[in-house]
Each structure stands twice: as C-alpha cells, then as structure tokens.
C-alpha cells in the first residue's frame, strides 16, 4: 500500500511541475488605440508609455509604442483611462480617455488640434491682429489734440 502511495506521489509530481508552465488563450477584441506622431508627421515610435485605470497609481500597462507610434490597450472597466508617453528629450503626452463602456461610440481616429498649416495661419493671424490692436492704442496715446 505504501509503495502504491509512493508511486502515486511520484506520478503526481510532474503534474505539479506542469502547473508552473503558463497557459495561454488567444482571442480578438476591441482595443483603444492611441497613435502619436510629431508635428512633422514622424511617428512617436519606440517611446515609453504607461496606461493607468481611473484612480490607480500603479499603471495597468506599460511598454513602448510600436513602430507606428501606437499604444493599444484593452480597458477592463469603464472610466477615465490615463495614457502617458514620454521621450527622453521631453516630448510626450498625458491624456485622459473615456473608455471601457459597453456600447461605446468609436471615434473615427481624428487627430487632435489643427494641422500644421492651419495652426500656422491661426497663430500668425492672432499675432498680427494682437499687435495691430496694440498699435491702435499706442497711436491713440500719442495723438495730438486738434
């Protein structure tokens, strides 16, 4: 009987060893994809990022952006997910993205902000307009009474 128990124990030992290997499962689903690029169009590739669930201090996911400058994560709960990415010379983002809800409208992947040309036109327009207004006041201050 004791021999049997011993043999059984030996037989179980590999099962315990197998338990230390990893199981895996592959599925497809929807991810939140954040694409980052510099103003000139170059992708923000291979830079560090962190993804935080709402209210968490420890990131849910960290890694490096892919060759196309993308971060992909699959939110496991609804809320305000925080995505931070940084390069060594100080470029990066700190975004809050509402995600994880069941029936979520998927934004069409629009880029934030104006493109470089619109941004240039807008900035120059504001600058020259501001200085024009300033010069109006300057002129008024210097006007001689009639």
């Amino acid at each position: 009987m004791r021999r049997l128990a011993f043999i059984l124990a030996l037989a179980m030992a590999p099962a315990a060893a197998i338990a230390h290997d990893l199981d895996h499962a592959v599925s497809r689903g929807e991810a939140v994809i954040v694409t980052l690029k510099y103003a000139g169009g170059e992708p923000f590739s291979y830079e560090s990022y962190e993804v935080y669930a709402e209210g968490e201090d420890i990131p849910t996911q960290t890694g490096r952006t892919d060759a196309a400058g993308r971060i992909a994560f699959v939110p496991d709960r609804e809320g305000a997910w925080r995505v931070r990415a940084f390069s060594e010379d100080g470029h990066g983002v700190d975004l809050v993205i509402e995600a994880g809800g069941a029936a979520e409208p998927v934004p069409a992947g629009a880029w934030n902000g104006l493109g470089p040309w619109s941004g240039l036109a807008a900035g120059l327009g504001v600058l020259f307009g501001l200085f024009g207004i300033i010069s109006l006041f300057a002129r008024r201050r210097g006007a001689r009474p009639l």
Binding site: Y38, A39, G40, E42, S48, D57, I58, R84, F86, S87, E88, D89, G90, H91, G92, V93, D94, N112, G113, L114, P116, G119, L120, A122, G123, L124, V126, L127, F128, L130, F131, G132, I134, S135, A138, R139, R141, G142
Partner: protein
C-alpha cells in the same frame, strides 16, 4: 523644447507661475514706456518669425530633431523684457492653438525660453559687441537657444528626484538628468549654430532696412 502638461511637478510649476506672473507684470510696465509706436510692426514681424521658427522641427543627425526659436534676435533688437513678453505670447499661442507645450508648464517654458534665453542672449551680445558685431549677434542667437535648452533639460531631469510615489516610481517624468541633459542638449548645441547664423543674417537685413528708411 516646450514641456507638455503633466511632465512637471506642481512643486516646480506653481512657484514658476507665481514668479512668471510677477515678472510679466513688471515687463509689461517697462515695455509700455519703452516701445515706440513706430516699432510695433517690426516687433510683430519678429514675434511672428519666432512663432514660425518654433513650429519647424529640423531633423538632426542621430534621429532627433530640434526647433529654432528666434529668441536671440528679439532680445538683441528689442531688449530682454520685450523679448520675454513676446516669447511668452508665442508660447501661449502655441499651447492654445497647436497644443505644443502645456498650460500648467507655460510659466516654466516662459521663464526658461523667454526670460533666461533673452537675458543670456542680450548679455552675450553686450559683452561681445566690442569685439565684433557679428560675433555678438551669433553668440546671442546661440545662447538664446542653448540656455533655455539647458534649463528645460534640468527641469525635466530633476522630476524623478523631486516627485515620487511611495514605491519610488517617478510621478511626472521618468528620465533623470543623465538622460535628459544629453538628449536635449546635443540637438540644441548643434542647432544653435544655425540659430546664431540666422540671428546675424536677420540683424544685417534689419540694419539695411533701417538705413533705407532713415531720411
């Protein structure tokens, strides 16, 4: 070089905001008295040039890129306080319109680029004017770019030291000085040459225009 929101701890940007507000007010008082109405169009053009330069990312060897700034030019032609205000305005517009640079970090950017950059450029120009006007202008352009780059590299690099979570992980920016200093400085030390040359060329052009206008 513009630091985005979220990369600088409040321990740095709140005092910077207080300092910047006071300095902006002081600069505004000085500038109101000093800038002649006839100079405003030219000031507008140089400020616009600074805005355009900061939008252009010049690729550099090694895969990085940097922006020129036009700070030295503004400082040499209009003085430190006017340059400080105009560069701050450019940074504000870039943050609001282009999303380049943060709003909470605007005071940090403005102090580093607008004030320190202008002051360093103007000081170098004054110091070297006796030697050679061109050398003085080149130095102004060079320092007007590299001194802000150094300050931004320092501001970023100390973040892991001053703001940490309980487990020691950095809260705002993860790379220390050993990383940020070379990463930020090397591109700007190179690009500073172009900025210096640009400052010399622009000053010469403005001098010619001034001579043409004088009766």
């Amino acid at each position: 070089m513009h630091v985005p929101d979220g990369f600088i701890a409040p321990q740095v940007y709140l005092p910077s905001a207080a300092a910047a507000a006071g300095l902006w007010a002081y600069a505004a008082r000085r500038v109101r008295r000093a800038v002649r109405e006839a100079a405003i169009p030219r000031l507008a053009v140089l400020t616009a040039l600074s805005f355009v330069l900061m939008m252009i990312a010049l690729p550099l060897p090694g895969g990085s890129s940097a922006h020129a700034a036009g700070i030295g030019l503004l400082a040499v032609r209009f003085g430190v306080w006017t340059s400080f205000l105009c560069v701050s305005l450019v940074l504000l517009l870039q943050a609001l319109i282009l999303g380049a640079g943060g709003i909470t970090t605007l005071p940090v950017n403005a102090l580093a680029m607008g004030l320190a950059g202008s002051a360093a450029a103007w000081a170098a120009w004054r110091a070297l004017r006796g030697v050679s006007e061109d050398a003085a202008r080149f130095a102004a352009g060079y320092l007007g770019l590299t001194v802000p780059a150094l300050l931004v590299a320092l501001a970023l690099g100390v973040q892991p030291l001053i703001a940490r979570a309980e487990d020691g992980s950095p809260l705002f920016f993860p790379f220390g000085l050993a990383v940020t200093l070379p990463a930020v400085m090397i591109p700007h030390l190179l690009l500073g040459v172009a900025e210096g040359l640009l400052t010399v060329a622009a000053c010469r052009l403005l001098d010619r225009l001034d001579a043409g206008e004088a009766p």
